[in-house]
């Protein structure tokens, strides 16, 4: 006998399993319509690969897994896709999600499958990919993609592989019947998982209230290394963390996953699904679901196609809706009420509990908490639920977190025993939601503040840089000015004769005057020329547009009368535009003709002074850069290369500016001579 451990707390609610575990698993049949939510698992929603009107075969892929954490969805039977649209899905919030709707044809004809006689001929990766493509996600309730779980993120060695057959929730018997009737499938599925993970030991934990299931599993596991462990009936022994504690004695550390301590838990139904997927190539298209509760006449377990509408299923089993009754998906402890019966059965639907208000009494008004401590006695996470309630109610979220609110698994044991009928779990959900919201908001505002501070800093820095540059430029300019003056002074001393000086002055004045004239001419000339050119360009593009539009219009008249009208107006306005431009050009031509006739074409360009300035600027910049380069060579070797490139560029710029200047000076000389001649 394997040693087992106990976990703290736990409760013994009335089991209510005998109503549904008497008969074998029957087949629910094929409903006329199937609703297949594309997200029945944790992770990314699958992406549809069929379109409306497509014929699909049983087992055919209808939505493929997208991203790392995702699984595929398959057609549970043959038929045709009637819609891909938002439809209410089973969720506590009553939300809608994208679903593929299939009208079944009743033929139930299979698509091609790839069975595999011996899984050991396949590689681990191949097995994992087959499991992923078979759309298998944890069938115990959470729906975490099985292939991902079987491939732990770190290189952790899984020592203990546990199959969870505890089924500790009252009313639910789907795993019980599955273990009794398909024990060999469960064991073979476990062996496939064990082949992938190579664990040291394989355990199946089953509560002692299922002796038939235990016997069947032991029989099936005879020749294997699998050990079936009987555990005491106590809710929530089927909680992953609790089962791990029971079977291994160790606890999953806070904030970690079981693989971190070398343990992995899988549901028994998941194991059976893995077996069918590998052995027969059958994707996960049906599951065993318990139908129970006094609102249902035929209580029991059925093999239900995924996507079967719940209203159809209930009707098949004699559903009597009573006033104040509730329909729970899952068990009475952790299941959620459905708002509507027009929802589909999904991969995680282990139970439909249609309970009368006698079975599940309507919630009583909450009385004051007297801190009796019964909640903390039963808490499997060893929390102080009464304190958490206090903190949640008083919105003291920090204290709630300090009291390990987030280790609450929401099993509901505290609410179950609370003599004051306080809906404790609701308070914890509320507090968790609020804390998450607060954290998200905080994160957001932190980011905003960081962004703002960064921006402020950048602006400051840019300002400082600009200021430094400006100063450097001013200094360089002052230096250049000083050098010029010096040069001028030197010239002045060289030409000592006053007459020569006066002639020099005269000359300078003459040059100035000539330059002014040249500039005036240039202005008179360039202004109309530029306009004319641009106008002509505009005219060309307008004409081009017009012809294109006319073509489009002609095309539209034939094919798209609605657009034609619009285009017609557009063509009209384009025509007017062209006409306007033409008129402007002709007018302009008249003007320029007169102007161009009287004025000779003189060299056009910036004034010499400007050019001189350009040269100075470029030189000072070059100097600055050379200085920086020296500095960079000393301090920032990584910047040197860049700077050198920039300096070569500036060299060219300086030489360009100098050429321009000399050209302009030459032109000036010519003008000068003309002037003096004239």
């Amino acid at each position: 006998m394997k040693q087992i451990w106990d976990f703290h707390g736990g409760i013994h609610p009335k089991e209510n399993k005998e109503q549904s575990n008497q008969d074998g698993i029957s087949d629910a049949g094929i409903p006329p319509r199937l609703i297949l939510p594309l997200q029945q698992h944790i992770g990314h929603r699958a992406e549809p690969v069929v379109s409306v009107g497509d014929k699909v075969l049983k087992g055919q892929l209808i939505a493929k897994a997208v991203g790392a954490i995702s699984v595929a969805v398959h057609a549970p039977t043959s038929g045709s896709v009637t819609a891909i649209e938002d439809h209410p899905v089973p969720h506590a919030s009553g939300m809608t999600d994208l679903c593929v709707l299939i009208e079944t044809d009743g033929k139930d004809s299979w698509c091609e499958r790839t069975p595999c006689e011996d899984y050991s001929t396949l590689s681990k990766d191949e097995l994992l990919s087959r499991i992923r493509n078979a759309g298998i996600a944890g069938m115990g309730g959470a729906g975490f993609p099985t292939a991902i779980k079987l491939h732990p993120p770190r290189q952790d060695k899984v020592n203990t592989l546990i199959l969870n057959g505890a089924e500790c929730e009252p009313y639910i018997t789907s795993d019980d019947r599955l273990m009794r009737e398909r024990a060999s499938e469960v064991i073979l599925g476990l062996e496939i998982m064990a082949y992938i993970l190579q664990p040291g030991e394989c355990l199946i934990g089953v509560e002692d209230n299922k002796p038939e299931a235990i016997a069947a599993l032991r029989e099936a596991a005879k020749e294997t290394q699998v050990e079936v462990v009987t555990i005491p009936t106590k809710y929530p022994s089927g909680g992953e963390k609790q089962l791990i504690k029971i079977l291994t004695g160790s606890e999953v550390p806070h904030g970690r996953i079981p693989a971190d301590i070398g343990v992995m838990c899988q549901n028994v139904a998941t194991a059976a699904a893995v077996y069918r997927a590998i052995r027969f190539g059958e994707p996960l298209i049906s599951r065993v679901t318990t139908m129970t509760g006094d609102c249902i006449a035929n209580k029991g377990n059925q093999n239900v196609l995924i996507g079967t509408p719940i209203d159809w299923l209930l009707e098949q089993n004699g559903y009597l809706n009573q006033k104040g009754s509730r329909l729970v998906m899952g068990g009475p402890m952790m299941g959620f009420t459905l708002h509507d019966t027009k929802l589909p059965v999904v991969k995680t639907t282990n139970c439909l509990l249609a309970a009368t208000n006698k079975e599940l009494t309507p919630p009583q008004p909450a009385q004051a908490c007297i801190r009796c401590g019964m909640c903390s006695e039963v808490c499997p996470a060893e929390l102080l639920p009464q304190q958490l309630y206090w903190f949640a109610k008083g919105q003291e979220f920090e204290k709630a977190e300090h009291h390990n609110l987030f280790d609450c698994i929401e099993c509901g044991a505290c609410s179950y025993v609370c003599p004051s009928t306080i809906p404790l779990v609701q308070y914890y959900r509320y507090a968790k939601g609020e804390i998450k919201q607060i954290k998200a908001d905080q994160e957001k505002s932190n980011q905003a503040r960081e962004r703002f501070e960064f921006r402020q800093e950048r602006i400051e820095r840019e300002k400082a840089e600009k200021e430094a540059k400006r100063k450097a430029r001013a200094e360089a300019a002052a230096k250049a000015q000083a050098a010029k003056k010096e040069a001028a002074a030197a010239k002045g001393t060289a030409a000592s004769s006053p007459t020569e000086g006066s002639t020099a002055n005269d000359k300078a004045a003459a040059i100035q005057a000539a330059l002014q004239r040249v500039e005036a001419k240039k202005q008179a000339q360039t202004a109309p020329e530029v306009t004319l050119e641009s106008l002509q360009k505009k005219l060309l593009s307008a004409e081009d547009k017009l012809s294109k539009m006319e073509n489009a219009w002609k095309d539209a008249v034939e094919n798209n009368p609605e657009r034609a009208e619009k285009l017609a107006t557009a063509v009209e306005s384009s025509k007017t535009n062209v006409a306007k431009l033409n008129a402007q050009i002709s007018e302009m031509n008249k003007g320029t003709g007169q102007a161009g006739g009287s004025e000779p074409q003189a060299p056009v360009g910036p004034s010499i002074e400007e050019l001189q300035k350009n040269v100075d600027k470029a030189k000072s910049k070059l100097q600055l850069m050379l200085d920086t380069l020296e500095d960079a060579k000393l301090n920032h070797p990584d910047r040197v290369e860049k700077l050198e490139r920039a300096i070569t560029k500036n060299h060219t710029r300086v030489s360009h500016a100098e050429t321009a200047l000399s050209e302009a000076t030459n032109a000036k000389k010519t003008t000068e001579s003309t002037e003096s001649n004239g």
Partner: protein, 348 residues
């Protein structure tokens, strides 16, 4: 279609606060019977009178606070307060002492602090302490003598008229100091052998009181078995009291011996019915151990070195003060943590 949509869990256990309170009241019955058997009708009349006053006071304050009266009266908490005071007060305490004690307990100690579940101090003990300090004469001279020691025990009607002040006869003939009181005063100028000759100690430990305490012990064990409270507080309190009296009171010629501490006065009533009040005690098992031990130690200290013969009320109230602090330092270790978080700081 009318489907009810609520969040999990959907199932609820059979426990109800009202049932718990009722069970507590029922568990006091053996003690009440023993008190009546040994000390006359006084306590029975007190219990009925205090309960009536408690329910009236509760109704009045609920009306003033605009709360649904029947809903809150239905939790039986006021009844429990009344019953406990009726058991704790001296059997022949005048009616107005009870009214002051119960009224103060319900109105001030309970409702002015927010009502059921919000009171930091045990209401019954607040009421008891108030009258003990305010009316020391009435509170020390109203202890009925064991009926077996009287030639002519008081009839029910006599007791009733005595309590309600219609009787002109002096009650001195029917009262007697309690064993704890007697021992404490006698031992200072005598030896144990002589002291216990006083008929108040009877044949075993303390005439009548040992049976009263055993009856409350039985009731308490019944509640413990029913799961109304855990063993931590009462056992820790009794253990601490016994240990203290063994260490400091081993010499019966010097001070009150251990058995008298455990089986005289309000020890068992305090341990199982007063200290276990969940609202005002520490919450975690470890916290309860500290809380209970504190009450035991303080009870011994006050009984031995203080001027009051009994000390349950003061000890409980003092530990009520300490309970929130104890809670801060006794948070249990949660699943998945190597160590428990202690104090208010993040211990990671």
């Amino acid at each position: 279609m009318g489907l009810m949509t609520i969040t999990s869990p959907h199932a609820h256990g059979p426990r109800k606060t009202a049932n718990l309170m009722r069970v507590v009241v029922i568990a006091t019955l053996p003690g009440l019977f023993a008190l009546t058997w040994f000390f006359g009708w006084g306590n029975l009349i007190n219990v009925i009178w205090c309960s009536t006053v408690a329910l009236l006071a509760e109704s009045a304050i609920l009306l003033i606070r605009k709360r649904p009266v029947s809903f809150y009266l239905g939790d039986y908490s006021a009844l429990v307060t009344g019953v406990l005071l009726g058991l704790a007060l001296p059997p022949l305490a005048p009616w107005w002492v009870s009214v002051v004690a119960v009224g103060f307990a319900i109105i001030v100690a309970k409702h002015l602090y927010g009502g059921m579940g919000y009171n930091p101090f045990n209401p019954a003990m607040v009421g008891f302490a108030l009258v003990l300090i305010s009316f020391p004469v009435a509170m020390t001279t109203s202890w009925a003598a064991p009926t077996h020691l009287l030639d002519n025990p008081m009839s029910f009607l006599d007791t009733l008229s005595t309590i309600f002040g219609f009787s002109t006869q002096s009650i001195d003939a029917f009262t007697m100091a309690t064993p704890l009181d007697v021992y404490k005063h006698e031992i200072s100028h005598s030896v144990a052998e002589d002291v216990v000759k006083n008929p108040v100690f009877g044949q075993f430990i303390a005439h009548g009181w040992e049976w009263v305490n055993i009856a409350f012990l039985a009731g308490g064990l019944f509640l413990m078995k029913k799961g109304v409270f855990t063993w931590h507080t009462p056992i820790s309190m009794l253990f601490a009291l016994a240990l203290m009296s063994l260490i400091f009171g081993w010499d019966a010629d010097q001070t009150t011996p251990p058995l008298l501490h455990l089986f005289a006065g309000a020890t068992m009533l305090g341990a199982f019915f007063i200290a276990t009040d969940p609202v005002t005690s520490a919450v975690s098992p470890q916290g309860k151990l500290i809380y209970g031990a504190g009450i035991g130690i303080l009870t011994y200290v006050i009984r031995t070195y203080g001027s009051y013969p009994d000390a349950i009320a003061f000890s409980v109230l003092l530990m009520n003060f300490a309970a929130p602090l104890i809670d801060v330092y006794t948070q249990p270790r949660t699943y998945g943590y190597a160590k428990a978080k202690r104090g208010t700081k993040e211990a990671e």
